[in-house]
């Protein structure tokens, strides 16, 4: 019974909270710019509005174009089945679920990039090429981080890796954990196309990554993409919160509020980064990503005794 309640709570939070993160990022950026900014709940209204609309499809496209948004949404939902939130396991937890998590995002990338290429537009092709190229460097960084956590916890599922072991290991192996947090934050920024890798607010198609890939999507399909992207951001934020705020008292009434505050804090940090940094020139991006790999690799080296 208790598991059922916790699983329900998990899914409710996982499906409703993500757009709020986008709202918080927007508010933070507005604060820095001295504007009032859109209301916190604006992303929800945007999604509802998009789901009410009709659509325009390009004459060049095939069914692959529609498969992109569908797969992006579904993989986001499935990923949040695996990621532990609050103090509980995810509803689904098994040995090696971390590999499935990474490969689900891979599946999403495959179809989003293919959908972009389906339009035949050179701009969307550029975006797709950048997306898959940067992922090639982000993926090893993510797995190196997983290696550190697996070594520390001796466990091969996300619940074990991100559970109480983290709190025990901060005093002993804090340096490794801190390096992983930093590396994964960079991975979060690139996987979710935030500054300094990509500027979601730019208006020049030539310089975008994710935004230009979805240029031709409209209506409900576009809504699916936006929602899927929010789910992905939330999943990464949850991973980082578990590492950075390792508070697990076992009491759901304490752990859940702490966790939710933590994810919102991650959103604030993203907003701060976006407000205080300019985006990098494209040739510098691989260098920063290589640095993310190296950070995690140093995390492993610190564990070699």
């Amino acid at each position: 019974m208790e598991t059922f309640v916790l699983n329900t709570l998990h899914m409710v939070v996982a499906l409703t909270l993500p757009p709020l993160l986008l709202g918080v990022i927007g508010k933070t950026k507005a604060l820095f710019a001295g504007r009032v900014g859109p209301p916190l709940l604006q992303p929800y209204w945007d999604l509802i509005k998009l789901f009410q609309k009709g659509s325009v499809f390009s004459t060049t496209t095939t069914w692959v174009f529609k498969a992109g948004p569908v797969v992006a949404l579904v993989t986001g939902v499935l990923a949040l089945l695996l990621v532990p939130l609050g103090n509980a396991h995810g509803p689904v937890s098994f040995t090696g679920d971390l590999i499935l998590l990474a490969y689900l995002f891979g599946l999403s990338r495959f179809f989003t990039a293919s959908a972009a290429m389906d339009t035949g537009s050179p701009f969307e092709g550029m975006g797709a090429a950048r997306e898959v190229t940067y992922a090639c460097l982000a993926e090893p960084a993510f797995f190196l981080g997983l290696l550190v956590l697996a070594k520390l916890s001796g466990s091969l599922d996300l619940a074990g890796m991100l559970g109480s072991h983290v709190a025990d290991n901060w005093p002993k192996q804090g340096a490794s954990l801190a390096l992983v947090v930093l590396s994964w934050f960079i991975v979060l920024l690139v996987e979710n196309c935030r500054v300094p890798f990509d500027d979601p607010n730019t208006h020049l198609e030539l310089t975008m990554i994710h935004e230009v890939m979805v240029l031709d999507h409209s209506g409900p399909a576009f809504g699916m993409i936006l929602y899927g992207a929010a789910l992905k951001l939330f999943a990464f934020a949850a991973l980082i919160v578990h590492l950075a705020v390792p508070l697990a008292t076992g009491n759901p009434f304490l752990d859940w509020p702490v966790f939710i505050t933590g994810t919102l804090a991650v959103a604030v940090v993203i907003g701060v980064v976006e407000s205080t940094m300019a985006r990098l020139p494209l040739p510098y991006i691989p260098i920063l990503l290589a640095a993310a790999c190296l950070l995690s690799a140093f995390g492993i080296i610190l564990l070699v005794r």
């Binding site: 499935l78 990039a113 190229t133």
Partner: protein
């Protein structure tokens, strides 16, 4: 029962092309007869393997008495778990390839070489099946040579083309180098064990020194056949030049025979020093990363797929390396996960790579070009081929819910398990394979997004592509069969786990005693559940989208071109531009060549741009070495003059010196 069926099946395959030689070269009668015989043979073989898996394995077929010149060569052929696992793809892909060839390489359209293809396309799988079930090294070598030589004649099918002849020569040199290594390998085995039988050698017969020598020879000989980087020199061009069903057979099955040979020989030897496991793992990682990096730089769809074979061989070898390491350190969990992952990847690669080569062949059949950048928009004209290629692409990238994910998942799990402390091995040496595997996966994804979208999506870039048509059922049917297999293994991996365990037990007999199961190490049930949930959710979301759009206004408009009024198909992002960033990231090893136009005057003339990624090992390693060798040996020609008297003198001198050297009593 199972042995006899398999032997009859392979014999039927071997002779399938013979009747065709007596029929007209302009009619398809002979081809039909060949296909019917070969398909019957393959089905018999598959039934035999099925019977073996169900526990009806018969006694080994052998001679009542040893033949004097071959001491100990008593049993000839027999099936165990390992042979059965490798036999299955041989017969399956041969069956589908024969059906596919009916349309793809129709006798009436290829009167000059159709009968040759028919003959050798039967002999090649027969040779492979023979060597896989061989129980002594002589039979093994017979099967090996039949396979290698038929492959040579298949690669040089279009021998009127200069490039094809050069490819054939390179292949012939490479394959004979590997045969040479095998002669040495089996010669040493015979010397140390005293028998040609492929039997387990105890530590009393093979100490560390012997094991090291045999491992070096096995890695060279079998690694060359498998196409392990940097021994892959023959592979890309051979796969590109052969007809597509031959490429499917070569890439899907033939190069796995190299893996089989290595796995078989390593099963006979005692556990090697642990360095070997690390070396094999590292070779696998290098092969994987560099294979896919080269693939990204290719413009020819079949060459690209060939480089992906090198990558996948790398993944398989990583699994095998983990198993070897597990054996040295006495870790059964590493053996089970590494070997089962690697061997499952053997199957998976046979399925999806054949599927991809069949689909590529279907595209080439319809458009008459292999250049990726001349294609485009084929998903509209060839929807079934596009769907099959997409399934193959998702599978080869190791994405759920298809079969590639399952085998990579097993290897990942095995590699992650090396983190737990074990004696005398620092985990950092092995665990660096994990990010390498992740890098391979994401590079493969980038590469297949590139091929799939450049060939099938967007709008056609040339009139060949614009006037394409869907292939006939005989070509599409085998493709759908393979795609179905990809789904079955991806969604129900528990079906194959007993087969894999049987093979693993044949490799490491100590596993049989402890009655271990793959399920106890890997959550195969969860993979099924999550795969089905994923498929169901995608279906549900698609229906949701369709339902939303049904009552709304849906228009079709041209693609948004940022206001540019006259876009053309040539302005689309090409495969080369898509890959450009990754190629330049790997430029330090790929050494891409490019000729970029320069604006020299105020009014530039029309100019052109070209880029290519040649194989560094061939261009800068093998060819200069051979040129140097040719120059060196040209000095020997001074004494080689064709004069009979001089030759007699040479013989006399040789004998004289030999007598001086060893002639004393």
């Amino acid at each position: 029962m199972s042995n006899q069926l398999v032997v009859v099946g392979l014999f039927a395959c071997a002779v399938s092309g013979v009747p065709g030689l007596f029929f007209s070269r302009h009619r398809c009668t002979g081809q039909w007869i060949a296909v019917i015989i070969a398909v019957t043979g393959c089905v018999l073989g598959l039934i035999g393997i099925g019977a073996f898996w169900c526990g009806h394995d018969g006694p080994e077929i052998g001679l009542p008495q040893p033949i004097p010149p071959f001491p100990g060569a008593q049993s000839w052929v027999g099936i165990d778990g390992l042979s059965a696992l490798f036999l299955a793809p041989i017969f399956l892909i041969a069956l589908l390839g024969n059906v596919y060839g009916l349309t793809y390489w129709k006798q009436s359209e290829h009167p000059t070489n159709g009968r040759k293809v028919g003959l050798f396309f039967g002999l090649m799988p027969a040779g492979m099946a023979l060597l896989v079930i061989a129980r002594n090294s002589l039979i093994f070598l017979v099967g090996w040579e039949v396979m290698a030589l038929s492959a040579f004649f298949l690669v040089t099918t279009e021998e009127h083309d200069q490039e094809v002849r050069e490819t054939g020569l390179l292949y012939l040199v490479a394959t004979h180098f590997s045969t040479l290594c095998l002669f040495a390998l089996f010669g040493l085995l015979f010397t140390w064990s005293g028998s040609f039988d492929l039997e387990t050698m105890g530590e009393d017969k093979a100490g560390p020194k012997e094991v090291n020598a045999l491992y070096v020879l096995a890695l060279l000989g079998f690694g060359l056949k498998a196409g392990l980087m940097p021994l892959h020199i023959w592979l890309p061009s051979a796969h590109a030049m052969a007809p597509s069903h031959v490429s499917a057979m070569m890439s899907g099955v033939l190069i796995k025979i190299g893996i089989y040979g290595f796995v078989r020989v390593s099963s006979l030897l005692p556990a090697p020093p642990q360095e070997w496991g690390v070396i094999i793992l590292a070779l696998g990682g290098i092969s994987g990363v560099l294979g896919v990096a080269y693939a990204i730089g290719q413009h020819d769809i079949k060459r690209l797929l060939a480089y992906h074979s090198i990558e996948n061989i790398g993944i398989i070898v990583m699994g095998v390396g983990l198993a070897v390491l597990g054996r040295s350190l006495g870790r059964p969990d590493w053996i089970v996960l590494g070997l089962c992952g690697g061997l499952l990847h053997v199957w998976n690669h046979a399925l999806f790579k054949s599927l991809l080569f069949f689909s590529a062949g279907s595209v080439i059949h319809a458009t008459h070009t292999r250049e990726i950048d001349h294609l485009g928009g084929l998903a509209k004209t060839m929807p079934q081929t596009a769907l099959c290629f997409l399934i193959g692409a998702v599978a080869i990238c190791g994405l759920p819910p298809l079969n590639g994910f399952v085998s990579e998942f097993l290897i990942y799990l095995g590699l992650f398990r090396t983190l737990s402390p074990s004696e005398g091995l620092s985990f950092a040496r092995v665990s660096s394979a994990v990010p390498a595997l992740a890098l391979i996966g994401s590079l493969a994804l980038a590469c297949f997004v590139k091929v799939f979208s450049a060939v099938f999506l967007g709008s056609p870039r040339s009139h060949h592509a614009a006037h394409a048509h869907e292939s006939k059922m005989t070509m599409v049917g085998p493709m759908f069969a393979l795609a179905g297999c990809c789904f079955v293994i991806g969604l129900l991996p528990t079906l194959v786990s007993p087969v894999l365990m049987k093979a693993a037990q044949a490799w490491a007999p100590e596993l049989a005693e402890s009655d271990m199961r793959l399920d106890s190490f890997a959550p195969l049930g969860w993979i099924s559940v999550m795969g089905l949930v994923l498929l169901g959710a995608i279906l549900l979301a698609a229906m949701l989208l369709w339902n939303r759009l049904r009552h709304r206004r849906v228009e079709t408009q041209p693609t948004w071109g940022c206001g540019y009024a006259a876009p053309t198909a040539r302005m689309q992002y090409t495969a080369s531009s898509f890959a450009q960033m990754l190629v330049s990231l790997f430029a330090w090893v790929l050494r891409p060549r490019r000729q970029a136009p320069e604006a020299l005057s105020l009014f530039p003339q029309p100019s052109s741009f070209r880029s290519e990624t040649p194989d560094v090992v061939v261009e800068e390693g093998i060819m200069p070495t051979f040129r140097f060798g040719a120059w060196l040996f040209s000095w020997i020609r001074i004494i080689q003059q064709g004069n009979m008297q001089l030759r007699l003198l040479y013989i006399f001198l040789t004998l004289f010196f030999l007598l001086l050297w060893r002639g004393r009593p």
